[in-house]
């Protein structure tokens, strides 16, 4: 049962990832990207990590895919992409992907991670929280600082002082 689900999820994820790159229509491409990201969430569910799976869904599918859709719909296509495409680039890309996958694959197989335990108890989110506040607290602080600085940067960039909107209700 688990194997069948794993295979189906793999086909879904990889297939829709390829479709996201190859489909001509940008909207369909972003829908395929959403499917690929949901497939990754399915992998997390298989690995007994529902906490990560739910965040994968709400952050990647719920927010990032929405942003991509927004961009695709609102901005004209020529402004996002200028089409530079030839056969050599394509084959170079495929070759690069195969090299990277082989590299990562050898590392994973070499690390002794050969079987997947799917019957263990699900990871408790309270344990994740404890780890974040004790052992991984420097990482948490660094992440918080990076996020805060990027939010402040985004707000500074988005601010326009030349526009005075007289209709605002405040």
């Amino acid at each position: 049962m688990v194997d069948a689900v794993f295979l189906a999820l793999s086909v879904l994820t990889i297939g829709s990832a390829i479709a996201a790159l190859e489909i001509r229509s940008l909207i369909y491409g972003s829908i395929a990207l959403m499917l690929a990201l949901s497939g990754v969430a399915g992998f997390f569910l298989l690995l007994d990590a529902p906490f990560v799976a739910m965040f994968q869904l709400s952050v990647y599918v719920g927010s990032i895919a929405v942003l991509i859709l927004f961009t695709v719909m609102l901005v004209r296509r020529e402004l996002i992409f200028n089409k530079v495409e030839d056969k050599r680039r394509r084959y170079a890309g495929i070759a690069l992907m195969i090299v990277i996958m082989l590299g990562i694959g050898t590392i994973i197989i070499g690390s002794g991670l050969k079987t997947m335990d799917t019957n263990s108890a699900e990871v408790d989110y309270k344990k994740i929280g404890e780890d974040f506040l004790t052992y991984y607290s420097p990482a948490l602080i660094v992440m918080a600082l990076i996020l805060a600085s990027s939010i402040i940067g985004a707000m500074t960039l988005a601010r326009r002082e030349d526009v005075i909107d007289g209709q605002r209700a405040d």
């Binding site: 709400s58 719920g62 895919a65 719909m73 699900e122």
Partner: protein, 433 residues
């Protein structure tokens, strides 16, 4: 004198009946029976009263009304019943349908109108059924330049997402379709799908009204998701759990709205915005952009969207009750099942009938459901109320409210919850448990 079918001949009619019966029997025995046996081979049959419930035994028991109850009771605890009937789709759809009718009457009474009146003689009680039949019998029109796959999928996905949301709401102790440990996060994940569906169907219809409505829906829902999530963190901090059933159990003595009123108010406003209800109904502002992102839907496709909207309304009201109003908790008002009937059976004259398997539902579950329904109906009426009272606000005012004021209030709410937690008053290990 006119006849409906001038060529009618009774002998031909009876002949065609026999014809039908012959074909049904033939197809059933050649195709149906093998399928039944194949299905039975894979289904795990339940054991009731120490007997394996084979279909033959089940039919024998069903023939005797006093022995059907154990089968019914066993069926009621299966997942398929929970999904289809009680805490799942059937129950929610019933409440949703009632909401549609009550909304019209309620708004009419607020605005000193009469509302639906003629359909069904008494206060237009059959209006809803008439509307349903009308929607079902209307033609489904697909715009010529629409993107057909997405346009067809949109309403189905909308109802599906709303159903997934409904499945997470616990109605009574143990009566919930899906009870994951990260229930509240699952709710956030499901809510994230609605703006995508809205904007995709709006784009697929290829009309300017739908597209403007879809973009408005996207703006509004994305903006209000953040205060929605933040306003619920206070409850998570105080109850120490993300599981919705645990959150209800933690409110056995007092409701969280007593300690977190700001969070409850912020959550209520975000509910109005997420549901696109007045005063935040810009995505389907009927006086500006026809019907917003629903403009091009017709027939049952519109019906499905409507069903999804009201399922979503029920689910949000249920979530409010679960998180802030104590869910199924309430004084025990449901009378206990009379013991005489269980022990001695029902005596009518000379006949005594004993029914093993009674009571069908335990008292706690019925009482919990009663309180949950009462509170949910109250919250639904509160959600409907602004539509009769307030005008629509501008999009920049909505976004301003969402991004500035509600997020600020939600943070204040989180600090109140943290203060109560660290003062040792509430929460895990607090004074008031």
């Amino acid at each position: 004198m006119s006849t409906i079918a001038p060529q009618f001949r009774l002998s031909r009619f009876i002949g065609s009946l026999f014809d039908l019966i012959f074909w049904v029997i033939l197809i059933f025995s050649l195709v149906g029976l093998p399928i039944v046996f194949i299905v039975l081979f894979y289904i795990k049959l339940p054991v009731i009263n120490n007997q394996l419930m084979t279909p033959y035994l089940a039919m024998t028991w069903m023939a005797d009304p006093s022995r059907t109850l154990p089968i019914v009771k066993n069926f009621m605890h299966t997942t398929i019943f929970k999904v289809m009937a009680f805490p799942g789709f059937g129950f929610a759809a019933l409440l949703a349908a009632a909401t549609i009718f009550v909304e019209r009457k309620f708004l009419a009474k607020i605005q000193l109108r009469v509302g639906p009146l003629y359909c069904g003689k008494i206060e237009g009680i059959l209006q809803l059924m008439g509307d349903g039949f009308k929607l079902m019998s209307k033609e489904i029109i697909i715009p010529a330049k629409a993107d057909k796959p997405i346009f067809w999928l949109g309403p189905l996905l909308f109802v599906g997402a709303a159903g997934a949301f409904v499945s997470l709401i616990p109605v009574a102790p143990g009566w919930v379709v899906a009870n994951p440990n990260v229930g509240l996060l699952a709710v956030f994940a499901v809510i994230g799908f609605f703006p995508i569906i809205a904007v995709l169907t709006a784009w697929a219809a290829n009309s300017k009204w739908t597209f403007i409505g879809g973009l408005r829906a996207l703006h509004q829902m994305v903006a209000f998701e953040i205060p929605l999530i933040l306003s619920l963190l206070g409850v998570v901090i105080l109850s120490g759990s993300l599981n919705l059933s645990h959150i209800v159990e933690s409110q056995e003595h007092f409701w969280w709205i007593a300690f977190l009123p700001i969070g409850a108010i912020v959550f209520f406003i975000t509910i109005l915005a997420e549901l696109e209800r007045v005063p935040f109904d810009l995505p389907e502002a009927e006086s500006e952009i026809v019907a917003g992102w629903l403009t091009e839907f017709s027939g049952m496709m519109y019906g499905l969207i409507q069903l999804g909207t009201y399922l979503k309304l029920y689910a949000f009201a249920g979530l409010f009750v679960v998180l802030f109003l104590g869910g199924w908790n309430g004084p025990m008002v449901w009378p206990p099942f009379p013991q005489d009937i269980i022990t001695q059976g029902i005596t009518i004259g000379p006949v005594t009938a004993k029914f093993p398997g009674l009571p069908l539902f335990d008292q706690e579950m019925l009482n919990g459901t009663l309180w949950f329904v009462i509170k949910t109906v109250g919250v639904i009426l509160l959600i409907l109320l602004p539509r009769g009272v307030f005008p629509r606000v501008r999009i920049d005012m909505i976004l301003h409210t969402g991004w500035y004021k509600l997020i600020g209030l939600a943070f204040i709410n989180i600090f109140i919850a943290l203060g109560l937690l660290y003062a040792g008053v509430l929460g895990p290990g607090g004074l008031l448990q």
